[in-house]
Symmetry: C2
Subunit: 138 residues, 2 copies
Amino acid sequence: MKPLTIGKVASRAGIGIETIRFYEREGLIAEPPRRESGYRQYPEDAVSRLRFIRHAKELGFSLKEIKELFALRVDPETTCKEIRERAQAKIGDIEDRIQALQRVKRALNGLVASCRGRGPVSECPILDALDQDGTDRR
Amino acid sequence: MKPLTIGKVASRAGIGIETIRFYEREGLIAEPPRRESGYRQYPEDAVSRLRFIRHAKELGFSLKEIKELFALRVDPETTCKEIRERAQAKIGDIEDRIQALQRVKRALNGLVASCRGRGPVSECPILDALDQDGTDRR
DNA sequence: ATAAACTCCGTACTCTACTACGGAGTCAAG
DNA sequence: CTTGACTCCGTAGTAGAGTACGGAGTTTAT
């Protein structure tokens, strides 16, 4: 359980050193303790947090949204009610995204099918995939 | 079925006029025909395409990726096999994303539940949600 | 005990995806 | 036939998310 240097954390989490410092500046991760020399010393679980950030980004969450996800559990002063409400809002959000992804997937499947069927692929099922609910949510 | 001006297209698709011109420059949408005055004239289905772009972006696809999705069906010279392969790769990709989102969702649900259960919410189920496969895919 | 590798910091640069500006021409409703 | 809304274009600016630089100090493996 010895603390990790920034370089170790970076390679384990699969991101760059500069990015970690950047996230620290942006408040996505806590400032870690330092040794006398000023070197950062990370506990193991910093790696999980950074991986989470990486994956969440790949899913299309912005850094701001990721911060909000983290905020759901920090401070023990937040009332349960509030946490529940915010979490549930996020869940709704995520469900929307899943729906939308499933539509894209169906469209691509349609493409594959029509292709297998050997007919001309000229017309485009992808376009219909997400076309509905033209109005804004979020 | 009369053609639409850029402004109409923009409002129906839920994006800005400048953004449409930008997408045109970037090759995400075709240059539409113009009337003598130079005004762009869009067919109805331009709206679908733009909505598709908007939704795909919300899902975390970059413009470049979106272009790749579209490229799956443009040129009729691409072999069926190739289209199928590329489409299937994208499908796999999307399935991964759906899985990941479902993990986040489960984590949030857990959060809500543990909260309702009244125990201390101190420890963080969210972090585990996406934490696995530390290595890169894509 | 010394070289190679690592870390520090602030600043500056890059890339993506818009968004705004502004002057000039065009359209359409009254 | 005017006037207010719309569109044209090129260029410039912005926000978000990193990424690079470079000189100086620190660790660590041999």
